[in-house]
Assembly symmetry: C2
Homo-oligomer: 333 residues x 2
C-alpha cells in the first residue's frame, strides 16, 4: 500500500506544490471551534486516500494551461465533497474498514457520521462561495445533487438483475462519474472570471474525460468488490453482493445464464443467513466472462478519455493524466 | 391540529401570496428525472409542517420594507435546508412519528433517508446559486455548518448533567437559532445587489431577533418533549430522555437537587431496560421548577426579540411577527 502511495506521489510530482496547498486549504476549511467537531474532523483529516479528484482539478488546470492561484482551493472543495460522500457511504454500507483506518462510522456512531458528512458538505459549499467566480458553487451543487440522485436510484435498483448495462452505467456515471467530471471541467474552465462559459469546447471535453474516467473507475471498483481480497484492496470487499447491488460483471453473467443459474445467483444474493455472499457467488458461479466484459468496457472508456487528453500540448501534467488512465485500470501497478 | 393550521394560515395572511410562490419554488427545486428520487421527494413535499422559517424570511422582508421578487425563492431555500435537517434528524432520533405522517426514515430505510437529506441540501445550495446576489449562498453555507456543529456538540454532550445553562443554550442556539437567524437576516438584508452589508443595522438586529426566537422555540420544544403528550404535540415525544439529551428543564432541576435525587435522575436516563424514560422521569421527579424556569427563560428571549420588531413601522407583517412570539411560547393558542 505504501508502495502505491509512493508511486502516486511520484506521479503527482507536476502538481506536488499545489497538492500541498490543497491539503492546507482543506484543513483550514474544516477547522471549527467546537471541540467535538475538531476531534472528528482531525480523524477525517488523517483519512488520506488517493485524493485523485483533487489531483484531477490541478492536473487538468495545468495541462490545459488554465490553472489559477485558486485551483488548490477549488481542488480542496472537490475533495471535501468526496470526503462527505465517503463519510455518508460508511453509514450506508456499514463498511467496517476503509483504507485500513477505522472508518468514522465505527469509531463514533451513525448519528455523528451523518452530521459530520453534513458538516463537510456545508464547509465545501461555504469555501466555494468565497471564490472569485460563482461557477464552482453552481456546478458543484448540481453535481452533488446528481450524485445523490444516483445513489438513491442505485438503492431503488437493489436486487434488480434485469437493469441492464445501460441502467447500471447511468447510475454509476451519476454517483461516481459526476464528481470526476466536475473536477476536470472546473480544472479547465475555472479562471475566476467565468471567461470560459458552458460552450467552452475544452471545458466540455474535459467534463467528458472526467465522466469516462470516473465511470471506468467505478466499473473496476465493482469488479474488485466482487472478487478482490480485502488485504489488497485496502477496504471492505463483498459489500455490493451483501447489499444487493447488482454490478456490471454480475449483470453480464446473469444475462448470459440459463434459468437455473439465474435462480442460483438470485438465491445467493437473497437467501437469509448466507455468510460471505461474494465468496459464495465466486465459488458457485463462473464470473470470469462478466469480469472480462466489465474490464473491457472500462478499457474502452479509458481509451476514449485518453483521446481527449491527446489534444492537449505535451507536458508533465498531461503525462500524469495518461498514467491515471492506467492507474484506474490497475495496469502497470 | 387542523385548527392550528387554520390559525397559522390566517396569521400568515400578509404574505399568503408569497408563501404560495415559496411552495411552488420549493416543489420546482426538488423535482428530479430519477423515478426513485421523484417518489421520495413527493412524500417530502406532502410533509407540510409549519414552514415557519420560510414565513419569517417573507414577513421580515415585508415588515422591513425590503422584500424583493426573489424573497419567495429565498424562503424556499431556507425551508429546504430545514427539511434536509428534519430528514437527517429522523435517522438520528429514530423518531417514529413526525407530524403524524410516517417519517421518511420508517417509510424507506436509513440509507435512502441519508441520501434524500443530502439531495435536499444540494438542491437548496443549488437554488441559492441562481439568485442575483451571493449573500444567501454565503450566509446559508455558514449557517448550515454552524447548525451541524451544534448537533455534533449536542451528541458529544449526551448524558452530561453538568453542562449548565450556558452550554445548553450555546448548542440550542447553534442547532436551532442559527437557521431562524439566517431566515430573518436574509429577509432584511437580501436585495439582490448586496446593498445592505454586514454592518447593516437592521440586518444585524433581525439576525438577533431570529436567533432569540429560535432559541426560545427550542427551549419550549425541549419542555414539550419531556412532558408533552404525543397526540397534542403531533410528533414523537420523550426522545430527548431516551437519547440522553439533558435539556434546560432537567439541567435546572438537576442543579438544584441533592445527590440522591441526582443519582435517581442519572439512573432513569442510563439504566438499561427502562421503558418510557420521560414518563418515568416525570413520575419520579418534580420537574415543575425546571419547566417554570425554562418557560421564563423562553419568555425573556421572546420579549427581547419583540423589542427588536417594535422599531419597525406598524404593518400587518409586523403584527404577525409579534403573534409568532406568542405562538412560540404556546400562548393564546
Amino acid at each position: 500500500m505504501s508502495e502505491i502511495r509512493a508511486k502516486i506521489d511520484s506521479l503527482l510530482q507536476p502538481v506536488a506544490a499545489d497538492m500541498d496547498l490543497m491539503r492546507g486549504a482543506l484543513k483550514q476549511a474544516i477547522r471549527d471551534d467546537s471541540p467535538a467537531v475538531a476531534d472528528m474532523v482531525g480523524h477525517v483529516g488523517s483519512f488520506h486516500g488517493k485524493q485523485l479528484r483533487a489531483a484531477l482539478v490541478l492536473l487538468v488546470g495545468r495541462a490545459s494551461g488554465r490553472d489559477t492561484g485558486e485551483h488548490p482551493r477549488l481542488a480542496a472543495i472537490v475533495e471535501l465533497i468526496h470526503l462527505a460522500t465517503l463519510v455518508h457511504d460508511d453509514v450506508l454500507d456499514g463498511a467496517e474498514k476503509r483504507r485500513r483506518v477505522a472508518c468514522v462510522n465505527s469509531r463514533w456512531d451513525n448519528q455523528t457520521a451523518i452530521l459530520l458528512g453534513d458538516f463537510l458538505y456545508s464547509r465545501a459549499f461555504g469555501l466555494s462561495t468565497e471564490l472569485a467566480s460563482r461557477l464552482p458553487s453552481r456546478l458543484l451543487a448540481k453535481t452533488t445533487s446528481r450524485l445523490c440522485a444516483g445513489e438513491i436510484e442505485q438503492a431503488a435498483q437493489r436486487y434488480n438483475f434485469e437493469q441492464g448495462q445501460v441502467g447500471y452505467e447511468r447510475i454509476a456515471a451519476a454517483k461516481t462519474g459526476s464528481l470526476y467530471s466536475a473536477a476536470c471541467e472546473l480544472g479547465a474552465r475555472y479562471d475566476g472570471q467565468d471567461r470560459y462559459g458552458e460552450d467552452d469546447e475544452l471545458g466540455r471535453s474535459m467534463a467528458s474525460f472526467g465522466e469516462e474516467l470516473g465511470l471506468a473507475f467505478q466499473i473496476i471498483d465493482d469488479c474488485l468488490d466482487v472478487v478482490g481480497e480485502e488485504e489488497v484492496v485496502g477496504k471492505s470487499v463483498g459489500t455490493d453482493v451483501e447489499d444487493g447491488k447488482v454490478t456490471l460483471p454480475v449483470l453480464h453473467v446473469y444475462a448470459a445464464s440459463d434459468e437455473a443459474t439465474r435462480a442460483r445467483i438470485r438465491d445467493i444474493y437473497t437467501e437469509p443467513g448466507v455468510e460471505g455472499r461474494a465468496r459464495v457467488l465466486r465459488e458457485a458461479i463462473d464470473l470470469e466472462p462478466g469480469l472480462t466484459f466489465a474490464r473491457q468496457r472500462a478499457e474502452e472508456l479509458v481509451d476514449r478519455a485518453m483521446a481527449r487528453v491527446e489534444v492537449l500540448p505535451d507536458s508533465p501534467a498531461r503525462t500524469t493524466l495518461e498514467a491515471i488512465g492506467d492507474f484506474v485500470l490497475g495496469r502497470n501497478w
